[in-house]
């Protein structure tokens, strides 16, 4: 019954999306005035979507094996949390989550949007309904998550053990919330292009969505990176894998959008460009979803490889992005640009930020899809790997980081003050770091050295906007910006330190043997079998010491029974100045055990930086909400 209820709500929601689209079309033509009804429809549609997803969670929580999706992706012996997480750890469930978030986002837009004109909101809700309708059709015709199996199997086939990890249980939903949050920016942009009301009111309506989506994308990417780092056991934190790139591209576009939208909100400038970015940010989310779901690119993430589903998603992608780009081509020339600005101004700073981010986005995009195009044209197979991305995106990121220190100090329209003088101290910090690395570590790579210096400079430069004023009277949004910019510097330092100073040791160790990695001495004490709820494992006991003090690490090789699979559980010990990372491999014919040991100085700064960037976004958002509340209260008091 639960599965049927879920399916019924899905059908109803699809029907309401169609109704919402029709109402939008009619009222946009002036035939009827249905703004209020449309809001109601959008809200009910969101509720029905949510009910449908909750029903899916219920069948997974109860391990109802008569539902095909549960039988294929779950198992009665799994820990409860992974039974629930399995609901979105597969193609159908994750697409349902996608649509649910889309519908709920539409409902929230209908509930809370008071800033845009009614006409733009109606057009935006229409666009949101059109998006939802396509994905409902996809679910109901090609990816029904509620299909029954008869007879029901006695046991499920289990869930990919790599995904049975708390980090990963929440990584895809976080990314999805981010992806789909951008859909609202897309719909608002499309709506505004229809009505021609691209102005600062629109920017203010769009900003919380972009900010919120961006915070979640940042968190999702950071968490995904940490998951890959500790779960895959390769010791790397970013692999430039197509699917990682697919999540990075919307983030880059959203970052650019987040900055350009401020220009539109404050100065009414960069109209066409901001609309373009809003369209591109969500388009990149759809491209990302397509790449993950169709399996067209060779990737470690190839979960669901099905050309027919891929074709369906591709049609949706072409339809939506094509329509938005066409609308843009027709309407953009009619947009009047707002207030002019001079060469040295905050506007210019944000334009440069946007240009660099766009070039990085283009670089990642080209690198990700280049192999496909080369093979299509010449039949030659090749792959684009980390060396290309690091060589192109790395220096660009450094230039961007240099300018991130300058931008916030500029004032709107024109800057007359000698701004660079305020950056003397940060520049000295960077130069000192450079000198230290040359003295202490003369052999490290140029890019790593530059990144260490620039990262330190940026950490110092990011607080300058707070220095000249009383920091406790600065708006929360400024604090958010400072934290996020500092996070970028912290992440740069972490990435550079990891690249420059990581020590690796790969060896076969006999029991009792001691290996040296970096400052550490690691002794293999024993290897013993152990067991968990749905796995058995071989567990090594390693005794590590540097100078005084000892600690024990227990890396495992886990064997899962349903489905049969083997994973490496790295044992990682974190210190203030780095991580000791140990992996247990296979037994050698000689009786020794393969061990991989890494000493990674300051590697944790990468994710700390990512978390700071997200925190900065959250603080800025809190500031905007507080300011809005105050404004509303003042208005109420004046009445």
């Amino acid at each position: 019954m639960i599965a049927e209820a879920g399916l019924a709500s899905l059908w109803l929601a699809a029907g309401l999306a169609a109704l919402q689209l029709i109402l939008a079309t009619l009222s946009f033509r002036g035939a009827i005035d249905s703004g209020r009804q449309m809001r109601g429809v959008a809200i009910v549609q969101g509720v029905l979507g949510l009910i449908s997803f909750v029903m899916l969670l219920l069948v997974f929580a109860r391990t109802d094996l008569s539902v095909a999706l549960v039988a294929a992706n779950s198992h009665s012996a799994k820990p409860f949390i992974y039974k629930v997480a399995a609901a979105w750890g597969n193609h159908e469930g994750s697409m349902l989550l996608w649509v649910t978030v889309l519908a709920v986002a539409g409902a929230i837009l209908a509930l809370y949007s008071r800033r845009t004109s009614e006409r733009t909101l109606v057009a935006a809700l229409g666009a949101q309904a059109a998006l939802a309708l396509g994905f409902y059709t996809f679910l109901l015709t090609a990816s029904n998550p509620f299909t029954r199996l008869f007879p029901a199997p006695l046991e499920g086939q289990g869930f990919n053990p790599l995904l049975q990890d708390p980090g990963l249980a929440f990584h895809p939903p976080t990314l999805y919330f981010g992806y789909v949050g951008l859909s609202v920016a897309f719909s608002l942009a499309v709506g505004a292009l229809f009505t021609g009301e691209v102005d600062s009111r629109l920017a203010r309506a769009m900003r919380p969505w972009v900010l919120g989506a961006w915070v979640l994308l940042t968190l999702g990417i950071t968490a995904g990176s940490y998951w890959a780092y500790y779960e895959l056991g390769w010791g790397g934190w970013w692999f430039w894998d197509p699917v990682e790139n697919a999540s990075l591209m919307p983030w880059l576009a959203a970052t650019a959008l987040l900055h350009s939208i401020n220009v539109l909100a404050a100065r009414g400038a960069l109209k066409a460009w901001t609309m373009m970015l809003a369209v591109i940010a969500f388009s990149m989310s759809m491209v990302g979803t397509f790449l993950v779901r169709s399996g067209v690119l060779t990737s470690v993430h190839a979960f669901a490889i099905d050309p027919q589903r891929g074709a369906f998603l591709l049609v949706l992608l072409a339809l939506y992005v094509g329509a938005a780009f066409t609308l843009f081509a027709v309407r953009a020339p009619a947009l009047r640009e707002g207030a002019p600005f001079e060469l040295v101004s905050r506007e210019t700073g944000l334009v440069v930020n946007n240009l660099i981010l766009s070039v990085i986005l283009g670089t990642v995009f080209v690198g990700t899809l280049y192999p496909l195009f080369i093979e299509a044209v010449s039949g030659e197979k090749l792959s684009v790997g980390a060396p290309y991305f690091n060589a192109v995106a790395g220096p660009l990121a450094l230039v961007l980081a240099m300018l991130v220190g300058v931008g916030p100090l500029l004032s709107w329209r024109r800057e007359g003050r000698p701004v660079l003088r305020r950056l003397v101290v940060p520049a000295l910090v960077g130069a000192t770091m450079l000198a230290i690395t040359i003295l202490v570590a003369p052999a490290i790579g140029l890019l790593s050295r530059a990144a260490l210096a620039v990262g330190m400079y940026l950490i110092a430069a990011s607080v300058v906007p707070l220095v000249s004023r009383n920091p406790f009277r600065a708006p929360l949004a400024t604090w958010g910006m400072v934290v996020a910019h500092m996070g970028m510097g912290v992440a740069l330092v972490g990435a550079a330190a990891n690249a420059a100073f990581t020590q690796e040791r790969l060896a076969v160790a006999q029991l009792g043997e001691t290996l040296k990695v970096g400052p550490w001495l690691v002794q293999l004490q024993s290897v013993r079998p152990t067991a968990g709820k749905n796995w058995t494992a071989l567990e090594a006991e390693l005794l590590a010491s540097r100078g005084q003090g000892r600690l024990t690490l227990r890396p495992q090789t886990r064997y899962f029974t349903s489905p049969q699979a083997e994973t490496n559980e790295a044992a990682i010990e974190t210190f203030w100045n780095g991580q000791l990372y140990t992996v247990l491999g296979k037994q050698d014919p000689s009786g020794g055990w393969q061990l991989r040991l890494w000493w990674k100085p300051f590697v944790t700064l990468i994710w700390l930086g990512g978390a700071m960037i997200a925190l900065g976004g959250a603080v800025a958002m809190a500031g905007r909400i507080r300011r809005r509340r105050r404004a509303a209260r003042n208005e109420w008091l004046r009445r």
Binding site: A272, M276, I280, F290, P307, V321, G322, F325, L372
Partner: protein, 175 residues
């Protein structure tokens, strides 16, 4: 934004969609094209391992008609599943020779008794030297060698029943 640029996003999108449509229509072929295509078989002379069955030398592979050389091992599970397909190929008139990789005579004899013996000759490559010279990285792998001792095709992994027509066509081409 300049008026001339406004159609650029649409053009780029069309390119992207065209590329993705192409990819969906021609699924990724993960078989790596062999560098040894068109190269002569390296010279070798492998000893016999089974009583009554001759060993295999490179000169045996240049006797006028194409042959399938199958690298296998008794300890290799996919090889056991491939054995049925090799039998079927033999029934279709394909001449098959075997190279046993890192194996022991008694194990090979047991393997052949259990899963069938499609081989005309079997050479023993106990230390993988010929396997490495052939550019093979694992078992099972198969090479199609034409009548003049030139490698025409390298199949990595077991030949499945679906792939029999492909192998037969390649053998035909090698004539």
């Amino acid at each position: 934004m300049s008026r001339d640029l406004r159609f650029l996003p649409l053009i780029l999108l069309a390119l992207l969609i065209a590329g993705l449509v192409w990819r969906l229509a021609t699924p990724l072929d993960t078989n790596v094209a062999s560098k040894l295509d068109g190269q002569p078989v390296p010279t070798f002379d492998l000893a016999a391992v089974i009583p009554g069955k001759p060993g295999l030398a490179s000169s045996d592979l240049a006797r006028g008609s194409p042959r399938l050389v199958n690298l296998f091992a008794s300890w290799c599970v996919p090889c056991a599943t491939e054995a049925k397909v090799l039998e079927a190929l033999k029934a279709r008139g394909v001449a098959i020779d075997g190279i046993a990789i890192r194996d022991r005579p008694e194990d090979i004899a047991r393997f052949l008794a259990r899963y069938g013996d499609p081989y005309e000759r079997i050479g023993s490559d106990a230390r993988s030297q010929i396997q490495i010279a052939l550019g093979s990285s694992g078992v099972p792998e198969s090479f199609i060698v034409d009548g003049r001792g030139i490698i025409r095709y390298q199949k990595i992994g077991p030949i499945t029943a679906d792939e029999m027509p492909l192998i037969l066509a390649r053998l035909e081409q090698a004539k």
